[in-house]
C-alpha cells in the first residue's frame, strides 16, 4: 500500500477529505475526479478513504442499532419498579 506513504499538499488532502465527506460542489467534484484519473496513488487513496468513511459510518449505525438507549431505559424502568 505505497499510496499510504505518499505525502500530498494540504490543499489536496483537503480535497480528499471533502470528497470522502461528500462536501464538494458538483463542479469541484468533477474537477477533482479528473485529477484522480491521472494519478494512480492519489486515486487509490481518495477512493479507499471514501470507502473507509462509509464503512465507519456503518459501524456507527450498527452500534446505534444495537439499541443501547432502549436497553438502558428498560433497565432503568426495571430497577425503579
Amino acid at each position: 500500500m505505497k499510496f499510504l506513504d505518499k505525502e500530498y499538499h494540504p490543499v489536496i488532502e483537503n480535497y480528499i477529505v471533502d470528497y470522502s465527506d461528500d462536501n464538494l460542489e458538483l463542479v469541484e467534484r468533477d474537477a477533482f475526479e479528473e485529477v484522480l484519473v491521472h494519478d494512480d496513488d492519489l486515486r487509490e487513496l481518495a477512493f479507499s478513504a471514501k470507502e473507509g468513511k462509509k464503512l465507519l459510518g456503518m459501524l456507527r449505525e450498527i452500534k446505534a442499532k444495537e439499541g443501547f438507549l432502549d436497553r438502558l431505559n428498560s433497565k432503568i424502568s426495571g430497577s425503579s419498579n
Partner: protein, 203 residues
C-alpha cells in the same frame, strides 16, 4: 436556574444537564448518554479489551448515574464523577473475573453481588447473526489495528462526529495533519476489511 428548554439541550454544559436531570428533566439524561456513550466505551476498552464487557459496563454506569442522581453535587465535574463510577465498576468486574477463573463458576453465597453463570457458546450462531457479528467484529478489529495516531482522529471524526476543527483543538494536532491522518486511517480500514464486505460503491 433557567427553565429547561429541550431545543437548547445541546448547548447546556454537562453540569447544567445533570442539574436539570436532578429536577426530573429526563431528556437531560438522554443528552448526557448521547455525549458520553462512545467516550465511556473507549475509556473502558483500555481496561477490559472486550467490547461486550464495555457495553455492559457503560450500561451499568449510566444506570448508576440515573439511580444516584441525587448524590451528585455540582462542586464536582460531571465527567469526573461519572468516570469514577465507571472505573470502579471496571475494577469490580476485573476482580469478579479473576475469582471466576481461579475458583468456581458457581454462585458465591458470601458475595451478594455474585450470581450463577449461564454459559453459552458464542460460536454457535444462526448464519445471519454470524454474518452481522463478523462484519461488526471485523470493522472494530480493523479500527483497533490502526496506528494509535490514526485511530484517535478517525474515531473522533467518524464515531464521535467531532468536526475537524474540534479534533485539532482537542488533540493539539494541526488541522492539516488531522485531515491527512483521517484520510489514511479511513483508507487503511477499507483495505483491511475489503475481503469481508462487498461495498458496491459508485463514484
Amino acid at each position: 436556574m433557567d427553565a429547561f428548554k429541550a431545543v437548547s439541550v445541546k448547548n447546556y454544559s454537562d453540569e447544567d444537564l445533570m442539574e436539570y436531570f436532578q429536577n426530573d428533566h429526563e431528556p437531560a439524561f438522554t443528552e448526557l448518554v448521547r455525549r458520553y456513550q462512545d467516550r465511556l466505551h473507549n475509556f473502558l476498552y483500555r481496561y477490559t479489551h472486550d467490547h461486550q464487557d464495555c457495553e455492559d459496563l457503560v450500561q451499568e454506569t449510566f444506570l448508576r448515574v440515573h439511580k444516584s442522581k441525587a448524590s451528585y453535587e455540582r462542586i464536582a465535574k460531571f465527567s469526573t464523577w461519572m468516570y469514577t463510577i465507571a472505573l470502579n465498576l471496571a475494577k469490580s468486574l476485573y476482580k469478579k473475573k479473576q475469582r471466576m477463573y481461579k475458583v468456581s463458576i458457581h454462585k458465591d453465597p458470601n458475595d451478594s453481588e455474585d450470581f450463577e453463570m449461564h454459559i453459552e457458546d458464542p460460536n454457535i450462531l444462526p448464519d445471519q447473526q454470524l454474518h452481522e457479528k463478523l462484519s461488526l467484529e471485523q470493522l472494530e478489529k480493523a479500527l483497533m489495528s490502526l496506528p494509535e495516531d490514526f485511530r484517535e482522529v478517525v474515531m473522533l471524526r467518524d464515531l464521535q462526529d467531532m468536526t475537524y476543527e474540534e479534533i485539532s483543538d482537542a488533540t493539539g494536532i494541526p488541522m492539516g495533519t488531522v485531515k491527512s491522518r483521517i484520510n489514511r486511517g479511513r483508507a487503511q480500514v477499507q483495505h483491511m476489511i475489503e475481503s469481508y464486505v462487498d461495498l458496491g460503491t459508485s463514484f
